[in-house]
Amino acid sequence: MSLGAHYTPYHPKWYRRRVSVWWWLQTWSYTRFVLRELTSVFVALFAVVLLWHIWALELGPEAYARLLVRLGTPLFVVLHGVAFVFVLFHSITWFNLAPKAMVVRLRGKRMPDWVVVGSNYAAWLVLSLAVAVILLRR
């Protein structure tokens, strides 16, 4: 039924509201969802940055030195700062939602959500430490 159509007795005249293009601004939870999805952009950007690191290392010590200088410029520091916030947001939402997507059962009993979330965070901590140690090894 189209909007404003004339009513005919005994026939339904349903009203359908169109979903606004700005639907994701209507409530904070929708906005947060879209922000969560947009973390993927920063994930991809950092993957590209990693590629850049590898390339610079392959080119030799000078290129690596240039890379370090470039990374120290305010533009890159700010970019990395923003990216870091988004990537953290990604990690936290990813870990917190994990128990919904994956039900872990032990002897038929469903593990409580906090166990799943907790082990995610534990793995995060261990892996982060390992990466830091290996990368910064003198």
Binding site: S40, V43, A44, L51, F95, V131
Partner: protein, 116 residues
Amino acid sequence: MGRPITPFLWLLFSVGGTVSALLFPVHLFLTGLAIPLGWIDPPRYEALIGLLRHPITRLYLFVIIAFPLVHWAHRFRYTLYDGLQIKHLTALIVVFCYGAALVGSAAAAYLLWNIP
């Protein structure tokens, strides 16, 4: 868009999401913030290139580049659909997103293969 491979793409997306959630914060914090801001000294070139020559490191790097790129492609594709309501441009979006991820992954493979 053929649905049959969606489960596969979703698996890649999930692996990419997990990998990046676990490992990106520390990498990003160290190389993007802590080192440039001088909180810690940068690792020496020799140490890094040595590390990079190890096959396990190369495999590791490939994983943390390729999967997160697909993760992005998959997630961003739906964000474009829903956020901008441009589902009619499906073919274009698919080519752009997964194509970019594919190119990135190929570049990673090339670079990692050719480390001197």
